[in-house]
Assembly symmetry: C2
Homo-oligomer: 175 residues x 2
Amino acid sequence: MEPSRIERLCIEKGLKMTGQRRLIARVLSDATDHPDVEELYRRALAIDPRISIATVYRTVRLFEEKNILERRDFGGGRAHYEPVERGHHHHLIDIDTGKVIEFEDAEHERLAEAIATRLGYDLAGHRLELFGRRREAVAPSRAGDRAKQGSGSRGARGPVNGDASTRPRNKPEAP
Amino acid sequence: MEPSRIERLCIEKGLKMTGQRRLIARVLSDATDHPDVEELYRRALAIDPRISIATVYRTVRLFEEKNILERRDFGGGRAHYEPVERGHHHHLIDIDTGKVIEFEDAEHERLAEAIATRLGYDLAGHRLELFGRRREAVAPSRAGDRAKQGSGSRGARGPVNGDASTRPRNKPEAP
DNA sequence: TTAGCTGCAAAACGTTTGCTTCCCG
DNA sequence: CGGGAAGCAAACGTTTTGCAGCTAA
C-alpha cells in the first residue's frame, strides 16, 4: 500500500515509521474534519484493533511538535487536530449543531497584522473563531440557501442555550 | 465594608449573598487581569483561609451563567475569568512572557459580522486572539511606543519556543 | 544491536458532584 | 423555618507517564 500524504511528511522529517504511526498518518490523511483524539482512536481501531489510545496521544503530540498537525481548541475539553497542509484558515462553529466551517479571509489577515503592529508586536500567530447560528431565510420565496460545511467530528450534542444558562459539560459555547 | 461592584451586580440579579460569594466578588472586582480558578482561590484564601476551591469553582460557574463573568480559554488547560463589565474586547498574548493585552477593534467587529453573513450565519459570538512577540525597536530615534498591558495572572512560565517543539504541559501557544 | 516506540495500567490534571452540615432570607 | 450554599472528599474525563517488552533502522 502506498504511503499516505502525512506518512510522506513524517519520512521527510526523519521520523521512525512504525505500524501505528503509519496507521494514524493514514487516518489523518483521510480525514476532512477536525477529529479529537478519541475519534482518531476509534477510526484507527476500526482498521487495526491492536492500537492503544496512549499511542494516539503520543503520536498526535509528536506530529504537532513536528509541525505536521495543528491542534485546535473549540472549547469543550478535548483538543481537535487537523493536518497543517490544509493551510491557514479559521473556523465558524455552528452553535446548534457543532459543525465546523472553515474559511479564509485576506482582509482579516491584514487586519490582525495591523492590530499587532499597532500594539507594538510582531504577529506570531492568531486565531479567529466565529460562533453562529444558521440564518433564517427571510425572503418570502424558497427558504434556506445552504452553506458549504466542513462537517464536525461527531454529530451535535444538543444546542447551546443563547443566554449562557446551564453549561452542558462538553459543548462549545459562544463568547 | 461597602459592596464591591460585582457584589452589587449579584444583588441586582437576586443572588443569595453568602460570605464566600462576597469574597469572590471582591477579589474579582479588584482584579485587572484574567485569573484562573486556582489564582482566584489563592487570592481569596489570602483574605479568608476558610474558603474551599469547590466553592470557587461553583461560584465562577454561577457568575458565568448569570452573565457576570466571562470565561476565557487561552490554551493551557485552565479557564480564565474576567468581569463582563469590562466590555467586549480581544486579546493579544505575549508568547514570551505570557502577558495578555486587551484591545478593541471596530473594523474587526464589522469584519467578523460580514464573514458570518457571507457564510450564511448570524454571528452569536466570536473570539480573536493574537499571539505575538514584542517588536524590536528598529527606529534610531526613541524606541518603542508602549502598549497598555493588562498583565497576566501569574508571571510567565518560560518562553514559548517559536517552532512548537516540546510543549510544557500548561502554556499558551501560537497557532 | 539498540535507541526509541508500544501497550498497559496507574497517575496527574483541572473540574464537578454527592453528601452532610450550615446559613441567608 | 426551609431551600440553597459550603466544605470535604471522592468521582470525573482527558491527557500524561513509568515500566517492561518489542521493533524499526
